[in-house]
């Protein structure tokens, strides 16, 4: 196989995988925006908070240990046990549901009917608050994240050797795909399928869609807006946990994890803020686009490191021709 062609295919495939990871982050934004019209600036911090909570629970860390020790003069840091990954994930989901309830109860319930910019500002405040709480609760140090079904059966990292060997034998060039990216893709497919099934075939899902379509109409037929918003924030919290696990497994869980939100913005601009399939397709286009551009033009002619700005440029290009994004709803407002 022609070497350049092989490299291009490899870059393309890895772009798709990276796109899935971007889409995982973007999904959380879409869920909340679709149901409540709120652009949730705190989505990245929610991923950080979820991942920190998961690691904290796994490692048996005492939450708010520094605070407790400072107030009571104690010296407690760990409970002394290790929680199985699946149980820790379940407990983290409960924490995210509790967070969703508190966000709704103490923040957005008081802001019903406010301008979108006010709601957006509230999410900025929420992001900083949550970051501070995460720091107080679990500490700022970097934590390694290992999600394991059993001892030795953890989230896989590293090159997929089978794929490399097979493609080398067949094509004369061994392709690189990261095992973690393969897992992330499978998880993303399951997640999206689950969300679609939930939205289409469950009572709560249909209520969620009704609220997304028209708040007033949904209220008039007895749908509880508060419940739906808690539900949506819980789902976004769950998506944030999945994104936090996938990104945190790569880099460890640390405060820069919240910056993954930056990767989701061009995806949202491209895919649309209200479409779950849009988040996936947008993620894939951004992932492939930025990787191919870097490989074919960025690195050879522009000195490299073009991915960040190219993603935004690509999204802006789409905005010029389709402001609502590829799958977004066209909003027509009459004056």
């Amino acid at each position: 196989m022609n070497e350049q062609l092989a490299y291009t295919i490899e870059v393309f495939a890895n772009g798709l995988m990276a796109g899935v990871l971007y889409a995982l982050v973007a999904l959380g934004f879409v869920l909340i925006y679709k149901a409540s019209g709120i652009f949730n600036y705190a989505q990245g911090v929610m991923a950080l908070f979820a991942a920190m909570t998961l690691v904290g629970i796994q490692n048996g860390q005492v939450p708010f240990a520094h605070l407790i020790n400072a107030i009571f003069g104690t010296d407690v840091h760990k409970f002394g046990w290790h929680v199985h990954s699946f149980l820790a994930i379940a407990l983290t989901v409960l924490v995210m549901i509790a967070l969703a309830w508190m966000v709704q109860r103490f923040v957005f319930r008081h802001l019903v009917g406010q301008e979108p910019i006010i709601l957006f500002m509230a999410t900025i405040g929420l992001a900083y608050f949550l970051e501070g709480v995460a720091d107080l609760m679990w500490g700022s140090e970097l934590k390694a994240l290992n999600v394991c079904a059993s001892e030795g059966a953890c989230l896989p990292q590293g090159m997929n050797v089978w794929l490399e060997g097979t493609t080398y034998e067949a094509l004369g060039y061994g392709f690189f795909i990261d095992n973690l990216d393969i897992v992330a893709s499978i998880v993303a497919v399951i997640l999206v399928a689950g969300l679609v099934i939930f939205a289409q075939y469950t009572k709560q899902g249909r209520a969620m869609r009704a609220v997304a379509d028209d708040h007033q109409a949904a209220l008039s037929v007895g749908v509880s807006l508060n419940f739906i918003w808690v539900l949506v924030w819980s789902l976004a919290g769950f998506v944030a946990l999945v994104a936090g696990i996938m990104w945190g497994a790569k880099s460890g869980v640390q405060f820069s994890l919240s910056l993954i939100a930056l990767k989701a913005l061009p995806v949202l601009m491209l895919g649309g803020f209200t479409s779950i399939p849009g988040a996936i397709v947008g993620g894939l286009i951004i992932g492939v686009g930025e990787k191919l551009f870097e490989f074919l033009i960025g690195a050879p002619f522009l000195g490299g490191a073009t991915e960040n700005w190219f993603a935004y440029m690509l999204a802006l290009l789409f905005l010029v021709f389709r402001p609502q994004g590829l799958f977004g709803e066209k909003i027509i407002e009459r004056v």
Partner: protein, 426 residues
């Protein structure tokens, strides 16, 4: 002997002098934000050393020390605000802990007559004291690091890198770009092929860069990274099965934070350093006794011996030694910032002094002068053992190639002097 006499003279003067103010050391720390994991241990080490001096020695020369922390979040604007809000507190020396903040503070500290110490970061050409009167970057700078890495690789390859391919994976910022010119010059001198691979901030996604490295197959990779970029780079290097022993990070890419996330895959990874690793030094016993056990640690007390804690502690030690030098020069214990600058400019660190401070073989010996604010630029190499989760120093602190670095420093500082109408300081 001279040192002891000086100390005794200062102590005698102290006994006869009225109540004095504290020796103030502002700490522009970052305990929050995306780089907190790196900022916390440094800030803890810096504060704990001064706390130890107060508890054990009653301060420096009889004057108590005081650390004022100001949170920068590793943000340049906040760093400048921190400087402005603390400079009136009698601050003796600033450690901005960020190349961006350093660039902003160079003219400000010069105008305010307050010295600044940018140890292993900042503007490299500030080593030229003739131009940068108030900025010091001893014991080593970025260009020493680049040269130190190449010297180490020369040693590994029988003195020749002819025909070898070396890639630089760097944070695409002023910091990350610092070694490029030096490495370009060194590639001409030693005949190796040099390839630049930039990574955009924050560096959470580096697939393109490591696929490029997989295709190009460099013999060695040098990294100038920070924060999450380091952890991801080491994981990606492991993913493409790049040999870890051929992967060398600068000192800002060589802490426990950088390797722990990758687990066993990071085993053998190397990093440059200008100070010792681990906690097997007598000074840490004093810190434990007088600070941690006394409940006065700046943090949780669990960072002692980590790379970045040691670096913070080392920075504090160098500041304290500069204070002692200044006290000797000026014959006063309660020195001001201008006198501190003189102390820093006359600082000499010897192995005897280090041993006396409880830090035998912890760092290189060096001497600062009016012309040379960068010290001798000695650089060592450490290696990570994933099973024991420890760094080991695997080389001596060796000199860098000043034949290459010297002219680059001259050129860059001359340009700065011309831009800012700076006359000779020495």
């Amino acid at each position: 002997m001279k040192y002891k006499l000086g100390t005794m003279a200062v102590a005698a003067m102290m006994a006869a002098s009225p109540v004095m103010a504290d020796l103030v050391f502002p700490s522009l720390s970052y305990r929050t934000g995306p780089y907190a994991a790196g900022g916390i241990p440094f800030a803890d080490g810096y504060a704990d050393y001064f706390t130890m001096l107060n508890a054990r020695d009653g301060g420096i020369g009889g004057v108590m020390t005081k650390v004022i922390e100001c949170e920068t979040g590793y943000n340049t604007e906040k760093g400048v605000e921190c400087y402005e809000s603390t400079k009136g507190e009698g601050s003796l020396v600033y450690q901005p802990l960020s190349t961006g903040i350093t660039y902003q503070l160079i003219p400000k500290t010069t105008a305010d007559n307050i010295p600044m110490h940018t140890m292993g970061y900042g503007r490299t050409s500030a080593a030229n004291g003739d131009v940068f009167s108030h900025t010091f970057n001893y014991p080593a700078n970025y260009w020493n690091g680049a040269s130190g890495a190449i010297n180490y690789l020369l040693g590994e390859n029988g003195g020749s890198l002819e025909g070898k391919k070396i890639a630089l994976v760097y944070h695409n910022s002023a910091y990350g770009k610092e070694p490029i010119r030096t490495l370009q010059e060194l590639s001409k001198k030693h005949g190796f092929e040099f390839k630049e691979v930039p990574v955009d901030h924050p560096g959470q996604e580096q697939k393109s860069q490591w696929l490029q490295i997989r295709r190009d197959k460099p013999d060695y990779v040098i990294m100038y990274g920070w924060g999450v970029m380091n952890q991801v780079a080491i994981q990606e290097a492991a993913n493409i099965r790049f040999p870890m022993e051929n992967f060398i990070g600068v000192w800002w890419s060589g802490s426990e934070n950088d390797v722990l996330a990758a687990g066993d895959a990071a085993n053998g990874y190397k990093a440059l350093t200008f100070h010792g690793v681990g906690s097997d030094f007598p000074v840490f016993d004093d810190i434990k006794t007088h600070v941690t056990d006394a409940g006065n640690a700046a943090g949780a007390g669990d960072q002692i011996g980590t790379v970045l804690y040691n670096r913070g502690m080392y920075a504090a030690m160098l500041a304290a030694e500069a204070v002692k030098t200044a006290q000797e020069i000026h014959g006063v214990a309660d020195i001001n910032a201008a006198q501190m600058r003189d102390g820093m400019e006359a600082l000499e660190i010897t192995e005897e002094k280090m041993a006396a401070l409880g830090l035998p073989n912890f760092g290189p010996s060096f001497k600062v002068s009016c012309q040379n604010h960068g010290g001798d630029g000695l650089v060592g190499v450490t290696q990570w053992d994933a099973s024991s989760k420890t760094w080991s120093l695997i080389s001596d602190f060796a000199p860098s190639d000043m034949d290459v670095i010297g002219p680059l420093i001259e050129e860059d500082s001359a340009a700065y002097a011309a831009e800012n109408n700076i006359e000779s300081n020495c």
